[in-house]
């Protein structure tokens, strides 16, 4: 696919926003400003953006514990997300979801998920809605290599194929399910699993926006054309631990420095577009500055925002009692 300048700038802005959002959440979490558990996506930006840049509001995605990147790539309000992570009343979920449950159905984001493997069945349902209502929409389930071992995921492969649903299963394989290496915990290969369910599969370098975008294009077209589900095995790395505070003793010494130096999807993107003279450094620098200011503002506003009140505790349990 040929990209125009606006598309490339938008892709870069989205990846940069994810990166800065995550780096800043890391910083603020270590400073004690953010409650609870946080699982960061930094390093995996090209996957979320490469895939979601094909999608619009008809299309639904379901995410994982590591959901911030998917949310941003799908267009969820960034200041509202930061507020949510701080547990503020004006967060996108009113402070009731937090980092692990950020959702905005109006943007096609069915939620990060606190349950590993929780999303694939849900996305089959979203795909059924799109198919039955003939919206032309597709549904994307992001799972990690850990989630790929859940029965829910494998059952969903089967159901999506049996019902011929417009689904794309994206296995984001960062090499670790929490601390456990995927080399140890995943039997067989992701592509063989796809094949076992009679579904096309593709493996892709998850640090390369262009490679992800191209692979996704084929899978999404197939789903939109009514030709059923497919699987993407996206190989990538995460810059941080499973959760914030994870000492990462299971990772090799120097591994993260090496990944940051050699496999940084933003650097790879910048080098590619400037070498090919598609964009100029100055344009990208300008986006960097804008995003930095946005994230700064998000944190300041979140720090000062109101917490939910006691009355909010009991609302939203049911639609009607």
């Amino acid at each position: 696919m040929q990209f125009n300048r606006e598309q490339l700038l938008e892709a870069y802005r989205s990846m940069r926003t994810i990166r800065d959002f995550e780096e800043r959440v890391h910083e603020e979490f270590s400073g004690g400003g953010i409650p609870g558990f946080v699982h960061l996506y930094a390093g995996e930006e090209a996957s979320a953006v490469g895939i979601c840049s094909h999608l619009d509001n008809r299309d639904m995605i379901a995410s994982t514990h590591r959901g911030h990147g998917h949310c941003i790539a799908k267009g969820v309000d960034v200041p509202g997300m930061m507020m949510e992570i701080y547990g503020r009343r004006n967060g996108v979920c009113g402070g009731k979801g937090g980092s692990m449950h950020i959702a905005d159905l109006s943007k096609g984001m069915m939620g990060a998920n606190g349950i590993v493997g929780g999303g694939p069945p849900l996305i089959c349902g979203a795909a059924m809605t799109a198919k039955y209502k003939k919206t032309g929409g597709v549904a994307v389930a992001f799972v990690g290599d850990g989630g790929s071992n859940q029965g829910t995921t494998l059952e969903s492969y089967n159901l999506a194929n049996v019902w011929n649903l417009p689904v794309i299963f994206v296995v984001e394989d960062n090499g670790y399910a929490e601390s456990t290496a995927s080399g140890w915990s995943v039997s067989g290969t992701q592509l063989d699993r796809a094949k076992g369910f009679g579904m096309p599969g593709v493996e892709v370098d998850g640090h390369d926006f262009f490679a992800v975008h191209e692979a996704a294009s084929e899978c999404i077209d197939r789903a939109r054309n009514g030709d059923g589900p497919s699987l993407m095995h996206v190989k990538l790395n995460r810059f941080f631990g499973h959760f914030e505070g994870d000492a990462m003793t299971y990772r090799e010494e120097g591994e993260i420095q090496r990944v940051r130096a050699e496999r940084d999807s933003l650097k790879i993107f910048r080098a590619r577009v400037t070498e090919m003279a598609l964009l100029e450094d100055a344009q990208l620098d300008e986006i960097d500055a804008q995003v930095a200011a946005l994230i700064d503002q998000c944190v300041k506003e979140s720090e000062n925002a109101a917490a939910p009140s006691e009355a909010d505790l009991l609302t939203d349990v049911y639609v009607t009692y």
Binding site: M60, K96, G97, A103, G125, A130, T152, E155, L159
Partner: protein, 334 residues
């Protein structure tokens, strides 16, 4: 008014709602299964035939078979509900809920709250419960207490064909996730049921008998047993109120407390196991809010704390009987 069975009443409710709203879809194991196969001129309509006839009327786009994959198809129903459909799914026997419990209690039940009130989940999970079918431990449990414990779910336990139809139509129109418990031994029980659609609101208890001396709180199949006991004791001058909560979540505590204040004696009848059950829950609500009105200790009549046995002689002992209910009522006068 025509007499209809509990099975027909549920079938009619679903059919009428499917005719009214094209977003109501039905799926589950064997719902469309068997259709067109040799020797079958119709789909099974689920393992006990509750949805029979819906596949020929509504076709394969709206009545779907699923693989035996409860997590996937119940989760898919939750996802479909959150995105604009109103799925009714059959989860065959309630005992199989364990397989997909996560999708119900971590996903469907929590969408609305976790998403800050911005989600609706109009999902109905129909399931069969209860002992008396000689089906032993893995096909006979009463698990409504488990679901009542989880905020965000509505839990319905209908006690008769009339109740089943009105509550099912309400369940399908309701915007929250509903777990609908059908007692498998009651499917052939009949009573007069209106042809036209009607709803019975959730959270409003029904008094099937009104009396001054004792309140019998009973659930599902036990309501019929309680009515029999009330009728018998009436002849002896013991007048009973029989309270059918209809829904265990939401629960009509107001009517319960009014009845307890009036009668001062309470027997709670629940087919499920006694620990952390509806019986213990209802008893504790009364102890907390109406202790002063009690003239005698609260009596619970439940199954024993064992799995459901297979041998007919044992299973008959397992299910609360009218004799045990009657003895409990008499004991409140001791």
């Amino acid at each position: 008014m025509a007499k209809k069975s509990y099975r027909q009443a549920i079938n009619e409710a679903i059919a009428q709602e499917m005719r009214r709203d094209e977003n109501v879809l039905l799926w589950g194991e064997d719902n469309a299964g068997g259709a067109g196969a040799k020797g079958e001129d119709d789909a099974w309509g689920g393992v006990l035939g509750v949805t029979k006839g819906l596949y020929p009327e509504f076709g394969p786009d709206r009545v779907l078979d699923t693989p035996i994959s409860e997590s996937a198809f119940v989760g898919a129903a939750a996802g479909a509900a959150a995105t604009g459909l109103r799925p009714v799914v059959e989860l065959m026997f309630a005992d199989f809920m364990g397989v997909c419990f996560d999708q119900i209690f971590n996903q469907a039940a929590k969408f609305r709250y976790m998403f800050g009130g911005k989600a609706v989940t109009p999902l109905v999970v129909r399931t069969m419960y209860g002992a008396g079918f000689r089906a032993a431990s893995q096909h006979s449990q009463c698990l409504y207490s488990l679901f009542t414990h989880v905020p965000g779910l509505k839990v319905v336990v209908p006690s008769s064909p009339y109740e089943a139809k009105g509550l099912m139509i309400q369940a399908i129109r309701d915007d929250d996730p509903v777990i609908f418990f059908e007692h498998k031994v009651m499917y052939d029980e009949e009573e007069e049921v209106p042809d036209d659609p009607y709803t019975i609101p959730f959270g409003e208890a029904n008094l099937t008998r009104e009396g001054d001396d004792v309140t019998i709180v009973a659930l599902g199949r036990m309501v019929g047993f309680a009515n029999q006991v009330a009728d018998k004791l009436e002849k002896e001058g013991i007048s009973c109120t029989v309270l059918d909560p209809r829904t265990t979540s939401p629960f009509d505590t107001e009517t319960l407390m009014e009845c307890v204040e009036e009668t001062g004696r309470v027997v709670v009848v629940d087919e499920s196991n006694p620990r952390c059950s509806m019986a213990s829950d209802i008893s504790s609500m009364i102890a907390q809010d109406a202790f002063g009105a009690l003239k005698a200790p609260i009596k619970m009549v439940t199954a024993p704390h064992t799995p459901v046995p297979f041998a007919p002689e044992l299973e008959d002992l397992y299910v609360p009987s009218t004799a045990k209910i009657e003895a409990a009522v008499r004991a409140t006068f001791a």
